[in-house]
Symmetry: C2
Subunit: 344 residues, 2 copies
């Protein structure tokens, strides 16, 4: 008898549904969860067959919820609530809403996942805007959380204050630390540096009962000065894409320059362990996925390029997120913040 039941958007991500199906098969065994695979049943069955999972699926902790509709990367996120109500990610959200699953995982269109989660599950009470967080690997082997990375632009300072609280609660869960350090992304460390938005937000973050380390700069995304870095979704999206693309560009450049002549190729061969180590640090599949913060339910978003291991790990994050009731704790924190604000 498996424990929790989780819904998995089998049609989200590159090369779907193969990596999702494989990740689900290994996760049910390793994590003791039941997984509902949501998507086109014939395609899912085909992949299961390739993985030699045949016969009674429930004995393997698996189930299939069939749907033919898919949200592509080119679809407007809101279509998940309108023309494509039966898209796999929307069905995932409804399985959670109907309590048939305790949470869902998707590596598809992030905007659509957010739209489905907010539209079907709703926001936590008092939350202005849900946010999307991202991991940033640090030099010290640990990582930092950056939020928001794209869900909200033109954020009011009060939204950013809530992001700080939600990010703080998430960091407690993720790192298992009592007092994550929270920083505000700006153009200089001093209190007066930044734009109108960050200056107003600085005051609000100072008033919170959390270890606020003040402004942090672009270079602090990887320095470890803060565990949680709060920013407007416009800035966060750009910072994240700059970082991802630069890391990719540099690795390509290394590969190119390293294979230019035979001597270098031998050198590269001898040092390949070092490169594997580096790639591992930046490997999103180790981390699985990030929750949508501020949503009234558990929704874990994986990277669009998630492989089977990434899906497996995302299901693990989803399970722990449910078990540790991070959503409930976040709700308490938001209500406490509201109470604090109405007193002051």
């Amino acid at each position: 008898m498996p424990g929790l039941t989780l819904a998995l958007d089998a049609m989200g991500g590159d090369r779907a549904p193969y990596p999702a199906v494989k990740g689900a098969v290994t996760a049910t065994e390793a994590l003791g969860v039941k997984v509902i695979l949501v998507g086109a049943e014939p395609k899912i069955r085909e992949e299961l067959d390739r993985l030699r999972v045949r016969g009674d699926l429930s004995a393997r902790g698996l189930a299939i919820e069939h749907t033919d509709e898919v949200i592509g990367m080119e679809d407007a996120p809101s279509s998940v609530l309108r023309g494509k109500r039966n898209a796999s990610v929307g069905v995932c959200a409804r399985l959670v809403k109907d309590r048939r699953a305790s949470g869902f995982v998707s590596a598809g269109n992030t905007g659509a996942a957010m739209a489905a989660a907010v539209g079907v599950l709703g926001r936590l009470e008092g939350v202005h805007r849900p946010a999307i967080a991202a991991y940033l690997p640090r030099m010290d082997g640990s990582f930092s959380i950056l939020l928001d990375v794209g869900a909200n632009v033109d954020c009011a300072p009060e939204w950013l204050q809530q992001f700080a609280v939600m990010g703080d609660e998430y960091a407690k869960f993720l790192f298992g630390i009592e007092q994550p350090r929270v920083g505000l992304l700006s153009t200089g460390e001093e209190k007066g540096k930044g734009n109108e938005q960050t200056k107003a937000t600085f005051e609000l973050l100072e008033s919170l009962p959390i270890p606020f380390v003040g402004n942090v700069e672009g270079r602090d995304l990887f320095s470890g000065r803060a565990d949680v870095i709060v920013c407007d979704g416009f800035v966060g999206n750009i910072a994240l894409k700059v970082a991802e693309s630069l890391a990719e560009t540099m690795m390509k450049l290394i590969k190119k320059t390293l294979t230019k002549n035979p001597v270098r190729r031998i050198g590269a061969l001898l040092s390949r362990g070092a490169f594997r180590e580096m790639l591992k640090i930046a490997d999103y599949s180790e981390y699985g996925g990030c929750p949508l913060l501020g949503v009234n339910g558990v929704a874990i978003i994986g990277h669009g390029r998630s492989n089977a291991k990434a899906f497996h790990n995302a299901l693990g994050v989803c399970k722990r997120y449910v078990e540790q009731n991070v959503v409930g704790k976040t709700q308490d924190r938001i209500l406490a913040l509201q109470a604090m604000r109405s007193v002051s």
Copy 2:
């Protein structure tokens, strides 16, 4: 008889005045310019002595303008116009204002250089805000220009429109191309993506007689989709610092993982040519420095870590910038933009 006379802030940058003095000595010979070294005369003489430049300085194309005041990285930029009016960078700006020099180079506090340039030389007619541009090396061996990278936050769309025009003129100078492609940094390629500021700016850039490629994303800083990328100084500062620090972090990480054991160390030794090649791509000293755009005079800003070669190259940029009258051309473009706006 040397040609142009350029002022050089000898006290700006790390390990001053050594790299500046050395860069000036080689530049006067190679470029056929005269350089006024601005700073503490005893220290400058000491460095010249070390470089065996003795006797009649003017025969070497050199002169010294003595001043004891220095603006540090910790000083407020505006102090260059108030308490520290004789700081080296301010003296440089006055040498240009008084036509004793055709342009100046500084690798000190960028904010102070901007304050000195704007306070002493003034803005071009019609310019709302001067901007600072930065180079971004691309995978294809070329590079892109990003502006503004820190001079202005909370930019009005009209300021950003002027940045596009000034960046376009600068790119023509820098790359020697007729039609640089201009992009707007945002969170998605489609016209409707971004925040209120970028949406309003998009319309203004569409109306310009330049090849506007539309929105570009964080990943396009290195992709080459645009030669000139326009953004608010808050976003530009963060994007630039994220990129600089990530590149540095990755190189450190490579070094660390590559020297972990003897086999890897041999591998690293064999492939060291590849690493040198990579470092050269990101080497700011090759590019020298960037002009302050929109200022009524030539002010070239070098990286705080400029070495002698970087100063040499910055003087070269300064010389060409003067010779090609980029300031005059930029003034014409800004006036044409104003005329276009008043007609429409």
